[in-house]
């Protein structure tokens, strides 16, 4: 009558003991993986060791009139470099590169015109301006007064290839690294279907998130900067890099242009800094036993 009871009891005890032994073994072995934070150092893209100082000269800027893109870009990059780079930032007036490029272009145009009228005088050809070779007269000209879109910026590119000009600027500031380029900050508006997660509750009060496609009109901004790095000793371009960032909001939302500008620049600044100084990228990895 009492026979089977001790057997069942001892069986249970055996299971309990085995479980305890297994738990103890697992505890003794410890975990087999460990999450650990790491910081990966990334070398700068540009060798800036020959320079002690950097001049953020100015930018050929265009797009919306709501933001002075040249001023704001210079101010932002200078402050970032001051805190995150070993280069000394030169405090100088922001260069109005749009006007400088136009002046250079007019000067080139006048020189071309003078040269062509001298040639015409010698050959006895008509000296009327309209009779001049439009290609020759137009060389160096045709700079749009206002920059509204990307193609307006293209003629300004030759300013950065003017080594004599940049060498002179370099001499003026004792041969620093010069940062310049173009910045286009334009308003955007787009309409179309957008995928959004919508919360729904069923009859039992359970929450569900359902992806739904809705038609939306959106407004925002696009930022297209091109950073040009010039060797102040020679005036030659060392490196250039272009970026494109965009932000769109619901059309009913009113976001100031300046805050959108900073939001977009925030995304670009780490890339800009990684050109000049080494950066550390934080992350986590798993170590295994």
């Amino acid at each position: 009558m009492t026979g089977p009871l001790p057997t069942r009891k001892s069986h249970r005890r055996l299971i309990a003991l085995s479980a305890a032994a297994l738990a103890a073994t697992v505890m003794a072995c410890g975990p087999v993986s460990y999450e650990i934070p790491i910081e990966t150092p990334i070398q700068p893209k540009l060798d800036v060791t020959p320079f002690q100082r950097v001049l953020i000269a100015g930018f050929v800027a265009g797009g919306t009139d709501d933001v002075d893109t040249n001023q704001e870009t210079v101010r932002l990059l200078r402050s970032q470099l001051r805190s995150k780079s070993s280069l000394r930032v030169i405090d100088a007036d922001v260069m109005p590169l749009l006007e400088i490029a136009q002046e250079q272009s007019r000067a080139t145009g006048t020189a071309v015109a003078d040269a062509s009228s001298a040639t015409a005088r010698e050959s006895g050809a008509p000296q009327n301006v309209s009779d001049r070779d439009p290609k020759a007269a137009g060389q160096g000209l045709a700079l749009p007064q206002k920059i509204r879109e990307e193609k307006d910026l293209e003629p300004y590119e030759r300013l950065f290839a003017n080594t004599a000009y940049w060498k002179r600027i370099g001499e003026e500031y004792q041969n620093p690294l010069i940062v310049t380029g173009t910045v286009l900050f334009t308003p955007q508006s787009r309409s179309g279907f957008v995928s959004r997660d919508v919360e729904q509750y069923d009859s039992f009060g359970r929450r569900r998130v359902i992806p739904t496609r809705t038609y939306m009109e959106r407004k925002g901004f696009m930022l297209r900067p091109k950073f040009v790095f010039i060797d102040g000793r020679s005036g030659a371009t060392m490196y250039s890099e272009s970026y494109r960032e965009e932000v769109l909001y619901n059309a009913q939302q009113s976001t100031p242009a300046l805050s959108s500008y900073f939001e977009l620049m925030d995304r670009l600044v780490p890339n800009f800094l990684s050109t000049l100084s080494s950066q550390k990228i934080r992350g986590t990895r798993v170590l295994l036993k």
Partner: protein, 119 residues
């Protein structure tokens, strides 16, 4: 008779090698464990030394290659990190944790490589 003798010798050889392999793995494991301890204290150079010893002792130890890759990554030695990750993946291609580490590494490494290729 001769065949039986050969089989015997082979059997003993296999049985003799097994404890040696177990010893090597145990040595490598203790190096790996020590490496983890010091890495957690921020002593990454010492950790690299330990994990390099571990993979020398046991070149089939995927975890040691993984840890070595992580340490190289932390030290900015990205080429060495890539090689170590590739070795770890070769030894244990189905280890999800190694694969995840490698994917995260590639994200950084590919970005810097793309930057270098730009004119």
């Amino acid at each position: 008779m001769q065949m039986r003798f050969l089989a015997c010798v082979l059997g003993f050889a296999v049985l003799g090698a097994a404890p040696a392999f177990a010893d090597a793995r145990s040595d490598a494991k203790s190096q790996v464990a020590f490496g983890i301890d010091v890495a957690q204290k921020g002593l990454w150079k010492e950790a690299i030394y330990r994990w390099e010893r571990a993979v020398e002792i046991d070149p089939t130890y995927a975890a040691a290659f993984n840890n070595l890759a992580v340490a190289y990554e932390h030290e900015g030695q990205l080429d060495k990190a890539r090689r170590a990750y590739e070795k770890a993946m070769e030894v244990e291609p189905n280890n999800l944790q190694i694969r995840q580490n490698y994917e995260l590494f590639k994200e950084i490494n590919d970005r810097t490589a793309a930057d270098k290729e730009k004119p």
